[in-house]
Amino acid sequence: MSVNNGTSRRAELIQFVVLSLALFVFWFILSGRTDAKHIIIGIVTAIVTSWICRPVLRLKSTTNRGEVIAAYNLPYIKLIPYIFWLLWEVVKANIDVALLVLNPKMPIEPLMVKFKKSMSNPVAHALLANSITLTPGTITVDVQDGVYTIHALTKSAALSLAPEKGEGEMPTRVGKLFNEK
């Protein structure tokens, strides 16, 4: 796949530099040394790694064939309140599961549900699948062409994610995050 117009080549260069810098900072945190030998090895490693990883960061759109989306193109600022909301949901999910596990009668009735959410960015799909796994009573089993197969521990958990009409709270939030309907 060749990219021949000038602006996307420029964007790719910026992405390359940013990725190299991020990898170098990561190296610096892990090594914790400041002498010349370690820093030079770190710079070389970061550049080689980000050069090899270039094709991995060009993601294919899941709805529109042939369109290319850059992996670093995320709504970083809108992501911060979402992460805090998600952390709170994770704590609630764990208390739910703890109550179910420690209950001697174990009132569970597992079921599978499917719902569809079409988004073009693969990162959005990954984020939604991860969030579903971390929140109360549901895990993602399969994602194919935007159709999510969910295994739910209780009926109310399944309904909160995929109600009879409309869509649940979490898919709406992720959709808003990535500006998709």
């Binding site: 699948a129 991860n130 521990l153």
Partner: protein
Amino acid sequence: MKFVALFFLLGGFFFTTVAAIGVIRFPDFYTRLHASGKGDTLGVAMSIIGLAIYNGFNLISLKLMFIVVFIFLANPIGTHVLSRAAYRSGIKPWVRKGE
């Protein structure tokens, strides 16, 4: 500060224990994944945050926080990969009998 660390460590240990009990008690594979995928993520993350608070602010705490971020990203992916492999191999979910 020590007491905050203690609180986080105890909470983390509680959720890890709950995850283990869930993995032993639940009736089939998918429900066991519920216990391990949620309980373990929060349990280990809380334990390591507690240790980082106990350690104070330095490079080691930064590395510990990196472990926390990695766990939060990687553990749900591991759960999802396992459940998808099981689903595509045709393992049926357990349902409550007599309804």
